[in-house]
C-alpha cells in the first residue's frame, strides 16, 4: 500500500520487543501483498478485479470477504459519495498509482457510472463476490486501518502473554494503540498532524486508551494542475475531490478498518451529517476546518488538547 509502517513495543525485553515489532510489520506487509493491494498482481483483490466478469460470482477468502463487506457497509451511509466499487474513478485520477491527472468530464461521467455499490453483491453465506463489468473494488481507504488491525492483533497476543505491556502501530499514519507503555494503564498521547504544517508537526494531542485512530486530510495526496490544487478524497456524486470547509477529520474507533473508513466517510459527509454514523459505530471524531477552527464529538472533547496557538475551538 506504499505506506510507512512503524511499530513500537513497550515493557518487554529488548529481544522480545524487537522480534514482535518485526512480526507485526510482517503481518501488515503480508496482508497487503496477499490480500489488499489494488496494484500488485500477487494480491487477491488484484485477481478479483481482473477476473473475467463471466465467471462471477466468485468465491474469495474470508479475510478479503470480511474487509469488502465491512467497507461496503460503512460506505452505505455516504449517500453515494463513497463506495467500495469506486476503483474506476480512483484509477482514472491516478490516485492508486500516484500518477495524478485531471480527467476530461466525459471520462469522469463514464467512470462515475461504474462506481455504484448497488451492483456490488456480496454473499456472506458462500463468501462470493459479484460486480458489474468494468467495475473495480478498492480498499485503498481501509487498507491502512486493516493493517493496524493485524499488527494490533500481534501486539495484543503478546500483551496477553505478558511478553510486553503495550505498543503503538502506525501504518501510513493510521494508528493502533494497544495496552499501555508501563503496564499500569497509562494513556497514550497521539498527536494529530497539523494540516498546514510538515509531516511531523501536530496541532493537537489526543489522550486515548486502547484504540484505533485514522486521519483523512486534504493535505495528504495533492497535486496541482493549471494552477488548481486537487486533493485525493473523491466525492463520487461529482466525480471530483470533495468540496468542503474541512481540512482533516480524525476518528477514534473500535477497529482500524472502522477508523480508516469512517475518517474518509466523515470527511465527505461533513460534521453535521457524520453524527449518526459515528454513533452507530460508537466512534469519536475531531474535525478541523480551513480557518483553523476545531471541533470534536462531545465525549472526546476533554481528551483533545490544542497545542498550536493558531488553532481555536469552534
Amino acid at each position: 500500500m506504499g505506506s510507512a509502517i512503524s511499530v513500537s513495543a513497550y515493557g518487554g525485553s529488548k529481544e522480545a520487543a524487537h522480534s514482535l515489532c518485526v512480526a507485526a510489520c510482517d503481518a501488515v506487509q503480508a496482508l497487503d501483498t496477499r490480500v489488499l493491494s489494488k496494484t500488485a498482481s500477487s494480491s487477491e483483490l488484484y485477481r478479483l478485479n481482473h477476473t473475467d466478469p463471466a465467471a462471477f460470482p466468485v468465491a474469495v477468502s474470508s479475510e478479503l470477504f470480511d474487509a469488502l463487506a465491512e467497507t461496503k457497509a460503512i460506505y452505505a451511509h455516504s449517500g453515494g459519495k463513497a463506495a467500495l466499487g469506486c476503483g474506476a474513478l480512483t484509477s482514472l485520477w491516478g490516485m492508486d498509482t500516484d500518477e495524478f491527472r485531471v480527467p476530461a468530464q466525459e471520462e469522469i461521467d463514464a467512470a462515475r457510472a461504474l462506481c455504484s455499490d448497488d451492483t456490488v453483491q456480496l454473499d456472506a453465506e458462500n463468501n462470493t463476490v459479484f460486480f458489474a463489468p468494468g467495475q473495480e473494488l478498492n480498499l485503498g481507504s481501509t487498507g491502512k486501518g486493516l493493517g493496524c488491525d493485524r499488527a494490533a492483533q500481534v501486539l495484543r497476543e503478546a500483551v496477553d502473554a505478558g511478553t510486553i505491556t503495550g505498543g503503538i502501530v502506525s501504518v501510513g499514519g493510521s494508528i493502533a494503540a494497544v495496552g499501555s507503555s508501563d503496564g499500569e494503564g497509562t494513556s497514550w498521547r497521539v498527536g494529530i498532524r497539523d494540516p498546514f504544517g510538515t509531516a511531523n508537526e501536530y496541532f493537537a494531542t489526543l489522550t486515548v486508551g486502547e484504540s484505533f485512530l485514522s486521519t483523512s486530510g486534504s493535505y495528504e495526496k495533492q497535486f496541482t494542475e493549471n494552477g488548481k490544487t486537487y486533493h485525493h478524497i473523491l466525492d463520487l456524486t461529482t466525480g471530483y475531490p470533495a468540496e468542503t470547509q474541512l481540512v482533516s477529520v480524525t476518528i477514534v474507533a473500535q477497529t482500524g478498518l472502522q477508523s480508516d473508513a469512517l475518517s474518509t466517510l466523515c470527511f465527505l459527509l461533513g460534521e453535521e451529517d457524520s453524527r449518526e454514523v459515528l454513533e452507530l459505530y460508537n466512534a469519536q471524531a475531531v474535525f478541523v476546518y480551513a480557518d483553523r477552527t476545531v471541533s470534536a464529538t462531545a465525549s472526546l472533547r476533554g481528551s483533545v488538547e490544542l497545542v498550536n496557538d493558531a488553532y481555536t475551538w469552534r
Binding site: I168, S170, S174, V190, G191, N200, E201, Y202, T215, T250
Partner: protein, 126 residues
Amino acid sequence: MKERKWISKTDGIVLGVLVLFAAGFLLWRAVAAQPGMRAVVTVDGEAVLQIDLQSAEDAQSYTLQNGVRLIAENHTVRFAASDCPDGICVETGALQKVGESAACVPNRTVVTVVGGEPRDVDVIAY
C-alpha cells in the same frame, strides 16, 4: 518625630524593579525550557549521549569516555572540561537555544541542542 510609612516611595520603586527582574527571570526560564529540548552529544559522528534539557535545572555533570566533561544546568549545556590544547570548546560557553552547537575538535566531540517543538507524544496520526 517624623512619621515613617511602612513602605516609602523609594522602597516602592526598588521593590517594583525587583519584581520586574524576578518576572523577567521567570519568563526567560519559561522560554528557555522549551518542551522536548535536549542536547545530543556525538563522538566521531556517533550519538553517545542525549541530555534532557527541558528538565535540567540543578547542575549535572556528564563525563564521556574520551574524558570530556559536560555540565547541564538551567536548561543549558556546556563543555566544562577537556584535555584539548586550545580549550575552545569550554570557551564557547553555555548552549541555550535549539540549533546551537559547540565542538571539541581534538576530541571529535560535538554537542547540539535539538528539539524545542513539543514532541511529547507517542505517535502522530496523519
